[in-house]
Subunit: 202 residues, 4 copies
DNA sequence: CATGAATGAGTGTTCATTCAT
DNA sequence: TATGAATGAACACTCATTCAT
């Protein structure tokens, strides 16, 4: 009589433990022992649900992305135009504890992706989705006349680049980046594309 | 008479070997044995010139920064205004093989800096210098009327963030970022601050 | 059901292997590899049961002391007075193979204790226990009139010092110290405190 | 024109540096680098005067013994009988800073001698000399009627053993062994062999 | 299913020794 | 004679992975 276990649920549980360890101790601190300890299971159980340790880390990355997408979906659903775009930007920079951790995780994977083709491919795919969302928001804001005309591809790349760059700087140089400063900078960039009447919210 | 060795020269030699290994195999691939192999010396020699392995990596970072600063100094010396600013931006994104490696190295250290206070402090200091140079270029371009007025602090942060963000994206998603595309994007951002007559070069 | 292993039993097993290596190859020969080889396990297993190598060595010392205490307890239980005291002395000098090894181990730790505060503290504590036993035996022999009156503290220190000193000499200069000679010497010291009628056994 | 160097003098210089390092940092802390640093010469010079590191350590032991013998010779020269014997005992236990170091060195070599035949042979030879001196002092005191009759061989071994045992205890358990206590204990042992009138000095 | 004991290759580091200058 | 650069084996320790129970 085998114990009934939700296989996917257990995988998520373990990957979430990995997510926590990475965002607290860095990716080099995310050893199998530490992930097992955080999950409350033994190290052996990891082997049941993942072939290799890298697969756990990859699943942690997926979970992080899924969480972000879910949250963004909920946040953006009632919003439109420039407001929605601003919300997107605010939510993807490390303004809150959760976003700080998400950014730490993302940065941790970047350096690994540089020497790991599979990982880079995963990031490429997920980044493309994220960028498509951003592009849609930009186009929608343009259509409502709340954002200046201009090549949406270029505007997307600029905004995407800025968001990741500011996120890095915010984590590495926290003394230079208060939360207020971070929103100010995003607003400043948006203002470059905003007709005078569409001022940022107070 | 003892064998004559320039101690600092040998340190640079070893740190340069570390630089190569990191930029080719990632920071996790930069083991002492690998650095020794790349340098052509045995592992024991590392102990002669560095107390700890971390000191070698840190020295590799310093060397990278010094190389960048030297190159930028030479490049910018004959230039002025917006042209100098554009040169700065072009030279700090991964357009060439050398800059690609420099960016890889930088990104490799970012994730470590997240959990290493000493490393973060080093990066903070060196980043401040780099940002000050960028700010001066912006102000100079504004004074010549080649760049729109506006808070230079904010413009500096936006440009600095964009440069690092685009650099990350260029390395992770090379299919999306040809060299041409990278310069186009930088030009697009500068154009947002450029009076109509100061068009980017063809 | 997991493999059932008595954690403490395995610790003892490994520490006993360390005990053997130290007593055969000296404390400098007691490398992790050698202890692992002697135990029949791989090097990695040591990390399961001990945090640091020093902890293994310390446990080997504890085991040695526990073995001695147990043996002395059994030996002394049916004995009394001067006879018990003599038994104690005979059993704590390297007369047998087991005691030779115990003495080697003890001496191996002495030199380390000179530059290791924690180790010295351990030895201080255990030595105090051993000395207290010796003192009780001396007092008991005095009470039975089998040992001359005199400050038991001083007699304890003299006998304790003599035992350790003779043990050292017996190991370093075995040609000078046959087993017979060793017992003669102990008897000679006891005789200094013994009324004429209480002659040593033949 | 070769530099004129007194080969033996230089050897002593280096061995004395080794002596200092051993007595300050323990025999495991006596690395070639540390000995070279203490001597003021480079590591390479050690190879000029000694074939192996062990030879330096051995020479340090010889120097220690020679120093002790010289000092004892000077001390004992004007003394006779029991007074000379007591002086010998007092000077060979760790009552002063110099003697503490000598004892540390001696103990450091003991544990090595257990697994090193050459070293044990050296210690055997030097110990025999030392014991002969002690025996002569005992016989002389007996001839003057200041020490009880008795087998001088046995008395020598007992006193030699006691001296080394107390020395060990004094270093390992300094809280139990003040200088006063150490002399008291030696006096107590001598008193066992002393006719009532020959009391120890105040 | 789950455990955690066991493996052994790989790590950073230390160090006696060699040797070109 | 003296230097100290260089070597490379050996060290304690870490860790992803395997597997008997």
């Amino acid at each position: 009589m085998p114990k009934i276990v939700d296989h996917d649920q257990r995988r998520r549980e373990l990957a979430t433990a990995a997510w926590k360890v990475i965002t607290e101790s860095g990716i080099d601190g995310a050893t199998t022992r530490e992930i097992a300890r955080e999950s409350g299971y033994s190290t052996g159980v990891l082997a049941h649900y993942f072939e290799r340790k890298d697969d756990i880390l990859l699943e942690a990355l997926h979970i992080s992305h899924a969480t972000i997408n879910k949250r963004l979906g909920d946040l953006l659903e009632p919003q439109q135009g420039l407001e929605a775009l601003r919300t997107f930007c605010y939510d993807t920079v490390p303004l809150g504890e959760q976003q700080v951790r998400e950014t730490i995780l993302e940065m941790s994977f970047w350096s690994r992706a540089l020497v790991n083709d599979e990982l880079r491919e995963v990031q490429r795919t997920e980044s493309a989705h994220w960028r498509a969302v951003l592009r849609e928001l930009i186009v929608a804001a343009q259509e409502r006349g709340e954002l200046a005309d201009g090549d949406p591809e270029i505007m997307t790349e600029l905004l995407a680049g800025l968001i990741d760059g500011l996120s890095v700087h915010a984590l590495l140089y926290p003394d230079r980046f208060t939360k207020r400063r971070l929103t100010e900078l995003i607003d400043a960039q948006l203002a470059l594309w905003t007709p005078a009447r569409a001022a940022p919210p107070a």
